[in-house]
Structures are given as C-alpha cells and as structure tokens.
Assembly symmetry: C2
Homo-oligomer: 407 residues x 2
Amino acid sequence: MIRANTDRVLRDLYHLRSIGTYRTGVHRPTLSAEDMQTRHWLAEQLQAIGHETTIDGIANVYGRALGDGPVVLSGSHIESQNHAGWLDGALGVIYALEAARAVAEAGIPGGVDVIAFADEEGHFTEASFLGSESFVGDVTEEMMDRSVCRSGRGRLRDLLAQAGLAGRPRLAIEPDRYKAFFEAHIEQGQTLESEGLQIGVVTSIVAIWQYRITFEGAQNHAGTTKMAIRRDAGKALMQLWQRIEEEFPKIVGPDSVWTVGRVTLDPGGPSIIPGGAEMIFQFRDADQQVLDRLKARLFALVEEAGRGPCACTIEIMGESKPAIMYEAPQAALIEAAKTYAPGKYLVMPSGAGHDAQVIAPLVPSAMMFVPSIGGISHHWTENTSDEDIALGAEVFVDAIGRVLSAD
Amino acid sequence: MIRANTDRVLRDLYHLRSIGTYRTGVHRPTLSAEDMQTRHWLAEQLQAIGHETTIDGIANVYGRALGDGPVVLSGSHIESQNHAGWLDGALGVIYALEAARAVAEAGIPGGVDVIAFADEEGHFTEASFLGSESFVGDVTEEMMDRSVCRSGRGRLRDLLAQAGLAGRPRLAIEPDRYKAFFEAHIEQGQTLESEGLQIGVVTSIVAIWQYRITFEGAQNHAGTTKMAIRRDAGKALMQLWQRIEEEFPKIVGPDSVWTVGRVTLDPGGPSIIPGGAEMIFQFRDADQQVLDRLKARLFALVEEAGRGPCACTIEIMGESKPAIMYEAPQAALIEAAKTYAPGKYLVMPSGAGHDAQVIAPLVPSAMMFVPSIGGISHHWTENTSDEDIALGAEVFVDAIGRVLSAD
C-alpha cells in the first residue's frame, strides 16, 4: 500500500500554473519557451527520484524507473491549449510523478515510469496526438518534416531546433516492460459534478468519426429566381441536418453524441441563393456497432439528400477506433475509489480523446477522471477544486500501488 | 409615332461593351476610370442631339431636352457590378438615349430627358441606390462624407475628386417637369425565357425585408457534453430555418421569394458545440399585405425558437417599400408590346430592385424587361440575344412616343 502526498501534488500543480500564467489558467503551447520550461522542470523532478530521464526528439519527457520488479507506465501531456486551463494534461503528469515518488519512497519492488507526451492538444499538423503516436511508432520522419503549427508559429522542425531538440532520437514504447498504463485527466464534462461525484473510472474512449458533407446547387439572384426552380445548396444542407436530427435519436447508443460544428454557405451574400454549401459533421461513440450503424444511416441520408435538387457528397475526414480500457487496471481504480471515495465514483466512458487511446492497443490501459467545475475545458476558466484534486491523487496512486503489488 | 433605330442601339451597346471589357462582359465599378469614360461618352451623345448636359456631384449624367412640350424622363445606371454583364444598366441607358434621339429627329413636340444614375449597383456604402437617391434628395452631405467603397477602393469623396467631380452641385429632380419615368432593364430571371416571351411589363418592384437572426446557446466540448444538456446554437438555427421552410409556403403570395443567404456558427470548430449562430434571412414581395403577414409569422417563429434551449433575437436590417408602377405609362408599354410583340409579352412583377422604385413616389413610373439568357445576371456570362435587344428598343421607344403624344 502506497499513499499520495497530496500537499506535494497541489504544490507541483501550482508551480506549473506559475509558468506561462494566463489569467487563472495558462498559455503553454507545445514547444513554446514556457512549455519547454515545464518539461525541463519535470525532468529535474524525475532525476531527483533517481529516474533515468530523457527529453526526446519530439519533446516527450520520459523518466525511467531503475531497479527490478514490475513497472507501470503513467503520464499525460504537459502543454496546454492556447490561453486555456491549468489542469488539462498537467494533472495527469503530476499524479504520475507523485505515483513514481510514492513507490520510490515506499521502497517496494518495481517502479513507475513517467511520461509527459508532446502535443496531445494538436498544436501541430500531421497527427492528432503527436507525442504518443511517435512513442508507438506511428509518426514518420516525413510527417515530422511536413508538420507545421496550426497557429502560425512555423515548422515543427524549426521549433524543435529552437528548443534544442533537433536530431535527438525519438523514444519507442517497450510494451512488454509495463503491467499497465494509467492516465488521469480532468473530465471536461459535467457528468461527475452534476451527480455530486468525485471520481470517474473510464471504461472506454470514444471514437470520433468526422465527415465533410458538400452540396452543389445553382448560385442565383435571390430576388428574380422563383422558388420552384431554385437549387439552393444552403436549404439542401439544412434539410439533411434536420433529417440527421430526426433519425439519429432513433438509433444512437445511450452515450452517443453528434455535432455540426461548422457550416459554410457559398458565396454567403444576403441576396444570393447559395450555389454551394458545406458542413462538418461528427459523431462519437465507444461501441463499434453503434458507430457502424450511425455511419450507414448517415450515408443513406446523404444519398437521400442527393436525390433532391442539389448534388450531395460526403468525404471521410477521420474514423478513429474506440479504445476499450483494460479490465485489470480499471478494477484497481474501482477498488481504490471504493476505499477513498465510497459511493462517490462513477464508471463512465470518455467523450474526449486522450493519449491513453494511443497506448491502449499495446499496453493494458486505464483512465481516471476528476470533476471539471461547470464542465468547462479548453478555456482559462477551467478548474477543479483542491479537494477533488487531492482525492483524485489518493485514488490514482493507490490504484497503481495495487497493480504493482498484484500477482 | 416614333421608331427606334435598332442598329444604332446595338452599335452603342457594343461600344459600351468595349470599355472595361472583361471576358464577354465588363468591369466598370462606379467612378472607376472606365465608368467615367462611359459617362463622358454618354454626355457627348446627349450634347450631339442638343440636350443641355451635366455630370453632377455624384456622377449622375443628365441630358435635358430643350424646347417646349411634354417631357418624359428615362434612364437607368451605367456602371456595372464587378466583373459582370454588359447589359445590366447599360441597356436602359441606351434605350433612353435612343428614345431621346428618336423624338428629337421626329421633330414632334416635347422631349426625353435622359439620366444615367450613379451606383445603382451599390459599390458604395450609406445608400442602396446612391445616384437616384441623391436625385430625389435622400442623400445628405454627411452620408457622402461617410460613404466608402465596399471593395476597398477608398472613400467616395476621394474617388469623386479623382474623377474631377469634387464640389460639383448634385442635381435634384423636378417632379412636375415629367409626364412619366421609363426604365428598361434585363429581367435577371428566367420567367420570360422559360415561357418563350420577349417583353416584360413590370407591375411593381418588390420590397426586400431583411433580418439578422441571432442565437445564443452555450459553447461546449463536442465529445464530453451529453446531448440532453446541450444548448447548441447551430441546431437551434437549423430548427428555425426548417420551421420557416415549413410555414412560409402556407402563407406566401404567388410571387414571394425567401432566402437564407448567410449562416455563421461560432466559433466554427468541428469539435465545438456552437455557442452562437447567426443567419441573414430575407423575403421579397410587392404586396404590402403579404409582407406584413410574412413578417408576423417570422417574428412568431423567432419567439417559438426562443422558447427552446437557446435565446433567439431578430434585428431588422431593412424593410423597403414595394413600388407599384403607374397605370398610364404601364398601359403605353402594353400597347407598344401588342404592336411589336403580339402574344410575346408578360405583365409581371420585378423581383430585383431598380432605380425606378426610387423615382416612382415622385413621378409616374414604368419599367420594361427584356429576357436574360439562362436567367443569369451579376456575372460576366449575362446576355440577351440581339433580336430581343432590338425588339425591346422598338417597344420601349414606341411606348415613350405614346405617352408624349397622349392628351
């Protein structure tokens, strides 16, 4: 049995919050000076507990526990979204650091390898989760060459060079080394808060299936073109959207979500009937059967829409795989939650993507959530109470201790 | 009885097409060098037939018939939309010039004052029809001071100065001088063509009622926010749009048109539930009762939408008045059409706005259309057959002759 030192956890999180502070949150985009400052700080903390520590060629920070015995891998990302919250990513890194310290101090066999992935927040192109995808071997040198910052800070290669990381090798996962991978994260939703709960044990990370749907009609004068002969691409888009909202509720799973986040009418003049229209549509679920069912219905609705006056085409932008969390480490989280937060935990899916979904196919993975106040994330007002942060650390560290000491 | 010289009409239109030629159309925005070239050319033609000719302080070209007898005012605009058609505006100016020439040559009493308005196409801010609104006294000096080019060519005042018009007085209409105002224009729609007709006699110019409808919901993560608690401003917009398309067909008039030309979701990220959404919605009709009925229904639907999870507000962007064409000049056009195009004319409303709607409250006004090939306008492929252009000139000039010779 190992225990978290929750004062130390809060102290370290406050320290990270002091680097790149933006209002009550932080601004630490991947490979910014502030981001690199946190990575070097983390490396020092890991060295201080005797871990062999590296910042690799894509800015992943890795602290390797020396000595014999079972090993658990734990971590999250340390950079932030632009002008965003202080805990998104940092929480999971500090929990992992605390688990490594607690194990080292307890003198029990085995250890916790700690990793702070680079760019889970997607500041750079070519990959959704650049650091963890590099770690599992999914990022080629050519992808690195092409990758640029989405906010215009330049090429990945140039920013790596500025950070002093040019030419460093990139670390590769050793799947057989680990009994499990654990990641903690803020929930980024309101489920825990609205039910008065403190811990979420994640069953699965949803897949995101995203599509660009395009309509082609006839651009025309909005005054002189009679309704009967119009081929209004905007109206056709609206009608498909309406059909989706009509049909999806009949066939979704209990946790499915679907969203039209962007709509463009072309040319967009008030007195011009749109000749073109485009929508970005996505849905998320952790159940492959539900995903397949939704996709089939979506494509049928697109075909139905195309029988109207406008042509309708659909392009797949992404169809990620759902990641099912592994039973043994998940059970350890539940046992730990029963100890520290009896009646205050929930077994739940994750609606957001996380590095754990990249690691899950190679190492038995589990995730734990703490509540997000008001469900807010990706904004500087994101927050979690100190009490919930402390409780989360207790449960997380205890669960890792259980896995290390299990047969 | 006077007659148009249709060869001269075509020759003059081809000449205008040679100034600012763009592909098969023209690019002559208001106050561009090419626009000013056509205005000076027109002034010379009017001087040549003995008209007292002025280019005024807003670039309206005015040719005043000297001598005694009844006077008809006729004209249209001479500038083009950007990279647009050769006949939109120019046709009505050359028909008016031809009517003035025919009357002058026939030696009958009276005459035709010719006007080429500035900026009917709305290149400049502060007014929809800058030239004709100035002519009727609706444009103040302060509006002139504020007016800028919508395509970024600068301030109206500066461009007037470059054109050599700074400080010139602006002409004012003398309503009692004219028996009627006549404007010819391309139809900009497909009604005449699709029915195999050659002349449209306009009964009324529709009003355009335009609204900005705004939705306020809650911006949130598209993965972690459950469907039941979402306040999706985009979805609320779609649902109002759908309700409009459901309800409007039940209460519109036979010639009503309605259009959603622009939609914006805020912030527009694929993985973000829109917290805000905006649509520009307009409808057009010539019947005040229909307009009132549509507005009442629209506002009721907006109120209905606001009872959902998102706030919904509506802002009036414009509610112009429909312009009813005057019976006597309209009857002259019909008589002329019966003579030159028996069975080939249609009495019809205009779905587009025209300078005639600005003049109509002060002078008995009438408009005549010729067919647009494929209904195309505001594009360089806009066209009308030479045969239809010639026939239109015959009908138009004959109608003006009838009004001048009527008791």
